[in-house]
């Protein structure tokens, strides 16, 4: 992508949010939405600015980003470990996969009491809970990616008598990279969703805390401020991954990667 192409990309991508914002603002100033139900964008902006002024905004963002980062790394690491084993060894799949799939549908809130029990209200418990969220989409995509790898390519490796580790490392992982990267992005998204649950584990800072705080104190502009921050930060981290994806998949002979 050239510099100007990226620039028009940002412009185009910004149209829809802007339109939504304007509609929202108009509806609010027309009195369609009462401020105690849905404050106007400007009011939300105000409360974000206020948070920024007293410095607590950066603390909230900082601690949440830190938890997301570590949780993401941990979750992805585990997903790679389990995903490669389950994807490659049919026996491991039959042993482990059913259990993992069952855990997948347990809601984030349900984990909270268990994590409290196992790990208390430490930072570890929060990070681990986020890792749980990141784990499942990443794992699922990786396994399916591995199982969808073209047999023809794997045979090439077999002819060279690659060990299983080499097969995984040199053929299966690169070939399932497209699927894996989608999994990463999906995992990151679910990871963000787990932040709230994680920060119910005795946090007094963070975006999830801010959200619950807003809910507990009937402060809709704080609720919305935290939603907006979730959206912005989520989009930001996702864009980073999307960029990685684009770079890593330049070899694909597909619609997007055509020249």
């Amino acid at each position: 992508m050239t510099h100007s192409a990226r620039f028009t990309g940002i412009i185009l991508g910004g149209i829809l949010p802007l339109v939504l914002l304007v509609i929202w603002q108009v509806l609010c100033s027309q009195g369609v939405f009462q401020p105690y139900l849905l404050p106007s964008p400007l009011a939300v902006l105000d409360s974000i600015v206020e948070l920024a002024k007293d410095g607590s905004l950066w603390a909230h963002i900082g601690i949440t980003m830190y938890r997301i980062l570590l949780g993401f790394l941990l979750g992805v690491g585990l997903a790679i470990l389990f995903g490669s084993v389950v994807g490659f060894y049919p026996l491991a799949q039959r042993l482990l996969d059913p259990t993992l799939q069952a855990f997948r549908s347990i809601p984030s809130l349900a984990w909270v009491p268990l994590f409290l029990l196992w790990m208390g209200i430490t930072e570890t418990s929060k990070i681990t809970l986020i890792a749980v969220g990141v784990f499942f989409p990443t794992y699922l995509n990786l396994v399916s990616g591995i199982q969808g790898v073209d047999r023809k390519l794997i045979e090439v490796g077999k002819v060279y008598r690659f060990s299983n580790r080499q097969l995984i490392h040199r053929i299966i992982l690169p070939a399932s990279l497209p699927s894996f990267l989608v999994g990463l992005r999906g995992g990151l998204g679910v990871g963000w969703m787990f932040v709230v649950a994680a920060e119910l584990l005795g946090a007094s800072q963070g975006l999830g805390y801010l959200l619950v705080f807003g809910q507990n104190t009937t402060a809709p502009e704080i609720i919305l401020a935290s939603i907006v921050l979730f959206a912005i930060l989520g989009k930001f981290t996702d864009a980073l991954l999307a960029k990685v994806e684009w770079r890593a998949l330049h070899w694909q002979d597909s619609l997007v990667h055509k020249r």
């Binding site: 023809k152 390519l153 045979e155 090439v156 077999k158 002819v159 060279y160 008598r161 040199r170 053929i171 690169p174 070939a175 990279l177 330049h250 070899w251 694909q252 002979d253």
Partner: protein, 270 residues
């Protein structure tokens, strides 16, 4: 070196790829395999390569029964099967072990030998069909395997490039003393390269004929004797009739072929 005893491969859907194949390959021998499309040649190579263990009969390499993939076997598949995420040079050095610098050097050398110098940094999607196949050939030859299984390696190449690579193959064969099994559709090629030809026919494929190529090496492509053997083979494949006259619309050319099914006067167009 390589011995097959009544080897049969049946697919789970009940279809047989080939039936009761038995032959022996001597060390340093080049065996050409000819046969109609779908008669089981690729399946045979897969079985010998050890990629497919669901066969009946026995296969021995150096008197030992084949178990899994033999370490001295190299394969050139019918399709290039390049890793799309690696560029040309990395694809060529894909199967090499050890120091990556010497590997690159070796790979570069073979790339030059297949006429692809300057394309090291290209990705498979930027290659033409013949170039991709040549990369696959280089990838296989660079590991200098003792037993080389080649599945129509040169079919995507023009006459000129094909000849270069046939000669390259002969050099490798000489230097490495390898045993080769070469599936090909080009009878000239088979005669130019092989010591012995196996002719398969039918579905499932069966061994119908073994032809010794007696012409001594180095051979000449224009040799009279080879030309005579070619005629023999064509006869054997029932091809001579068609060779000498264009088929008329209403001639049933599938008739003499085992797979022949119906007349070639097709209603869809008439």
């Amino acid at each position: 070196m390589l011995t097959l005893k009544t080897v049969t491969r049946t697919f789970p859907n009940g279809k047989m790829a080939f039936r009761d194949l038995s032959f022996e390959a001597q060390p340093h021998e080049v065996i050409g395999i000819l046969g109609t499309s779908g008669c089981g040649k690729s399946s045979l190579l897969r079985v010998i390569a050890g990629l497919d263990s669901e066969y009946q009969g026995s296969i021995l390499i150096d008197q030992a029964p084949l178990q899994g993939i033999h370490e001295r076997v190299g394969v050139i598949f019918q399709e290039p099967r390049l890793m799309p995420w690696l560029n040309v040079i990395d694809n060529v050095s894909f199967g090499l072990r050890g120091d990556s610098d010497t590997n690159r050097k070796k790979a570069l050398e073979f790339l030059q030998l297949v006429g692809l110098e300057g394309f090291e940094r290209h990705y498979p999607k930027e290659l033409s069909g013949g170039m991709a196949q040549r990369v696959a050939i280089a990838r296989s030859l660079v590991t200098s395997p003792d037993i080389l299984l080649l599945d129509e390696p040169f079919s995507a190449l023009d006459a000129f490039t094909k000849m270069q690579l046939q000669d390259l193959l002969l050099q490798v064969w000489k230097k490495c003393q390898s045993t080769m099994l070469l599936v090909t559709h080009d009878i000239d090629e088979a005669l130019y390269l092989s010591d012995r030809l196996l002719i398969l026919r039918g579905q499932p494929g069966e061994l119908v004929e073994v032809i010794e190529v007696t012409e001594s090496r180095p051979r000449s492509r224009g040799s009279e004797r080879l030309a005579r053997q070619k005629q023999e083979i064509l006869q054997l494949l029932h091809l001579t009739a068609e060779k000498t006259g264009e088929v008329q619309d209403d001639t049933n050319i599938w008739e003499r072929h085992p797979a022949a099914r119906r007349e070639l006067s097709f209603k869809g167009l008439s």
